[in-house]
């Protein structure tokens, strides 16, 4: 049991105020003022400090590319086949990589991690906490979403192999073909309920796409350029599947279309080199423009592109570029949780939710702020030395 006393608390549910938080059995047990200190309870004096929910990154590759190692630790892109929906992030995440410790020490407690963008369909993302020695114990939700990618990455990777896709037309065709086949596979499975002899032969790729076709799991669509974003939407609508827009670098140029479609967006990484043509309009202004258009926005680091512990910095620089401060905070807490559909457990300081709570010495957007204490699932996982 832990009692966090008297910190200026940003619950992300109500206006910030000084309050006490009681943590028990991994959950937030109570919120209030002058709460009684139960027996056997550790007290964290947060007077003069600021308390936030643990931050959430809705799109990264934590543990998929190991720190400082090349090929031997690079497990995010299976560049042997552009359609690999059957691959799972949980089979490749290394929770003992030191970036997990850096991330939770930097106040990031939860993230969606998964395959990269070399493949048209890359595989299954998972939502995990940033502490643990066994990924199976760290899962909040798996499978979360089916990663797919448009634009320069898939076509660059496969052009070098002289294989499809080499153009944006082929990227779209590969995806549509896979979805159409999965739809047919699904129909056969449904028909086979009445007649088992009609069951289609096991197909691991098709099996993996069933939750997408059935509307249970979204496509997580990597797209930078405006037309690629719109292509992803076109295909999602054709097959009636759910979709979230990832990176959405030129989203600010087509915000009205995105708003009309009622889609959520995970924006970033805005800190970085415009290394490709499709990044030429990259700007920190994007999340603010999208939020102002009424779109639900989360902010990503895309770790390791930007290391995960810089997530609050990315949010702060979005504010500098015009995003409302409250929207930027939502973008790394409750909005991220809602986009990942794990808001029953994380994303705000609320009774009944996981006790993922971080105590800061000043506002996390300040470049010289420090995490004093990180709590994940009610356990102190980091305490700054005096």
């Amino acid at each position: 049991m832990i009692l966090i006393k008297n910190g200026l608390t940003y619950t992300m549910e109500t206006a910030p105020e000084k309050m006490d938080i009681l943590v028990e059995d991994g959950k937030i047990k109570a919120l209030g003022h002058n709460l009684n200190v139960p027996e056997d309870c550790d007290v964290i004096d947060a007077n003069g400090k600021m308390v936030f929910p643990g931050f959430i990154d809705a799109h990264c590759h934590l543990g998929m590319w190991e720190d400082a190692i090349g090929f031997e630790g690079a497990d995010g892109n299976e560049m042997t086949d552009p359609i690999t929906p059957e691959l799972r992030a949980i089979d490749a995440i290394n929770p003992l990589d030191r970036t997990f410790e850096e991330s939770r020490n930097g106040g990031v407690t939860c993230c969606a991690s998964g395959p990269g963008s070399a493949n048209v369909i890359g595989g299954q993302f998972a939502v995990i906490k940033t502490v643990g020695d066994r990924v199976d114990d760290m899962i909040v939700k798996a499978p979360l979403a089916m990663k797919c990618a448009f634009g320069e990455n898939p076509k660059r990777v496969y052009s070098e192999k002289k294989k499809s896709p080499m153009t944006r037309m082929a990227i779209a065709a590969e995806l549509r073909n896979a979805l159409a086949k999965a739809k047919e596979y699904n129909e056969k499975l449904e028909a086979a309920k009445d007649d088992p002899t009609k069951k289609p032969g096991f197909d691991m790729k098709m099996e993996a796409l069933l939750p997408v076709i059935r509307g249970e799991m979204p496509l997580k669509a990597h797209a930078h350029r405006a037309d690629d974003i719109l292509t992803s939407i076109r295909i999602a609508k054709e097959f009636g599947v759910k979709i979230t827009l990832e990176h959405c670098t030129e989203g600010h140029l087509i915000s009205h279309h995105i708003a009309e479609e009622g889609l959520s967006v995970v924006v970033g990484p805005s800190f970085g080199d415009r290394s490709k043509f499709e990044l030429k309009n990259l700007t920190f202004e994007t999340p603010g423009v999208l939020a102002a258009a009424g779109i639900k926005v989360a902010i990503m680091t895309d770790h390791p592109v930007v290391p995960l512990h810089y997530l609050p910095m990315c949010a702060g620089l979005s504010v500098k570029a015009g995003m409302e401060e409250e929207e930027a905070l939502k973008a790394i807490t409750i909005n991220a949780a809602e986009i990942l559909e794990v808001e029953d457990r994380v994303g705000s300081i609320k009774v009944g939710k996981d006790a993922d709570i971080v105590v800061w010495d000043k506002h996390p957007f300040e470049l010289d702020s420090h995490v004093l204490t990180t709590i994940i699932d009610g356990q102190v996982v980091y305490q700054k030395a005096e």
Binding site: D67, A68, H252, F271, K280, E285, V319, E366, L367
Partner: protein
């Protein structure tokens, strides 16, 4: 209002040669900040003081509530050489075809239309060193330029500020992929030493010829060795890309063997061997630190390095290595160096006066001092704080970016 960097207007106030900046918080980089005025005449800082009298024909800029700093300087970038927003067509950073290319010059590949130039001005950066990457053991010449939206020849303020060399993983990875030497650190060092030996032989042959043309032969022209002569004569420092501690020590060993001036660029393991670096007399250009540790040789990378080296008496600058970290985020890099132990005052010097000293241009840039170039930036607040913005940027006394008039 959405403002793509391409929409930023340049203001060439041709008729305004005399400017008086009044009442700003002046962070000169020499001593404590104070509230005062700066008079600019014909592109130079003419006078700094308190309560300077407003003269006729002077444009007055009211800097009340604003911080006034020298323009920021980055002594290691590939700005304009590796253009942003473009692929192969704009990437001229590495001449992979041979490991020994000292005769190449960054200025011959610099594109002032790189959209990063205007963005960096808007973020308070006024001069940078530009040059080749680290694929080659000897890559070519780094030059110092002002951030101007015209030809590199006009922007150039010093043609030679460093001869790029590289040790560690990059040259040997390129060698392996091209099936040629170097494929090991031994090969890399041997290639470098061989080039320096051959350049020495070339120089000595020509010196003998010049002393006594009758009895000596001139060496047949070799552009590579010609370009290394200033390095041998200690007029041009060797600018050595190094991360790992042993690679840093190899750089020191070779520089000592040939008696060269040198800088240790990146210097990621620098904090592990501060005494050796301090003893060697090398300068350290530290960064890019804000990013993933992509290679084994960067596994000790930390923002603590610049502060630790600075405390040990090493002359340190902070670099973005643009585009690895975008140049517009130089102040963020300095802010993190400050936070991780360097302190704000020294971190600001590491992006102003210290790089100016390292490139031998501290008579012209790097601080607010009478006689220096009027490279001056007015900030809404402490530039090391996340929400601060540059409100006015002057380079050589010309207004390059103006957000003051909008507010």
């Amino acid at each position: 209002m959405y403002s793509n960097s391409r929409q930023i207007q340049l203001f060439w106030e041709k008729d305004v040669m005399i400017i008086l900046i009044q009442n700003g918080k002046l962070c000169t980089m020499h001593g404590k900040a104070f509230f005062g005025d700066i008079r600019i005449k014909h592109g130079k800082i003419a006078e700094i003081g308190v309560g300077l009298e407003h003269k006729k024909h002077e444009k007055v800029i009211d800097a009340s509530g604003l911080w006034v700093l020298p323009g920021f300087i980055d002594p290691h970038t590939h700005l304009g050489v590796g253009e942003q927003g473009i692929g192969f067509e704009g990437n001229d950073v590495n001449e992979y075809s041979s490991p020994i290319t000292p005769h190449l010059r960054g200025i011959d590949a610099y594109n002032p239309e790189d959209t990063a130039v205007l963005e960096s001005i808007q973020a308070g950066v006024t001069s940078v060193a530009i040059g080749p990457g680290s694929a080659n053991v000897l890559g070519g010449l780094f030059s110092m330029i002002k951030l101007r939206h015209d030809s590199v020849d006009t922007a150039l303020i010093k043609e030679g500020v460093g001869m790029k060399s590289a040790l560690g993983e990059n040259p040997k990875r390129v060698g392996r992929d091209s099936s040629r030497m170097p494929m090991t650190r031994m090969g890399t060092a041997a290639k470098l030493r061989e080039a320096l030996f051959l350049a020495t032989e070339y120089l000595e042959k020509n010196e003998r010829y010049e002393a006594d043309p009758e009895n000596n032969e001139q060496a047949s022209f070799d552009m590579k060795w010609e370009s290394l002569i200033p390095v041998l004569k200690k007029e041009l420092p060797l600018k050595v890309h190094v991360h790992r501690a042993d690679d840093i020590l190899t750089a020191i060993r070779i520089a000592k063997e040939f008696d060269l001036k040198f800088s240790l660029d990146h210097c990621s393991d620098g904090h592990l061997i501060t005494d050796y670096i301090a003893e060697s007399g090398a300068t350290a250009i530290v960064g890019p630190t804000l990013g993933f540790r992509t290679k084994m040789e960067t596994r000790n990378k930390t923002f603590e390095t610049p502060g630790i080296l600075n405390d040990a008496g090493v002359r340190v600058a902070i670099t973005t290595d643009h585009p690895v970290v975008p140049l517009r985020e130089l102040r963020i890099c300095a802010a993190y160096a400050a936070r991780y132990g360097m302190g704000q005052e020294e971190a600001l010097k590491a992006i102003t006066i210290y790089p100016a000293e390292i490139v031998g241009l501290n008579d012209r840039i790097g601080s607010l001092e009478s006689g220096k170039d009027a490279d001056i930036v007015l900030w809404s607040g402490n530039p090391l704080e996340v929400f601060s913005e540059a409100k006015l940027v002057l380079i050589d006394g010309k207004v390059m970016f103006d957000a003051l008039s909008d507010s």
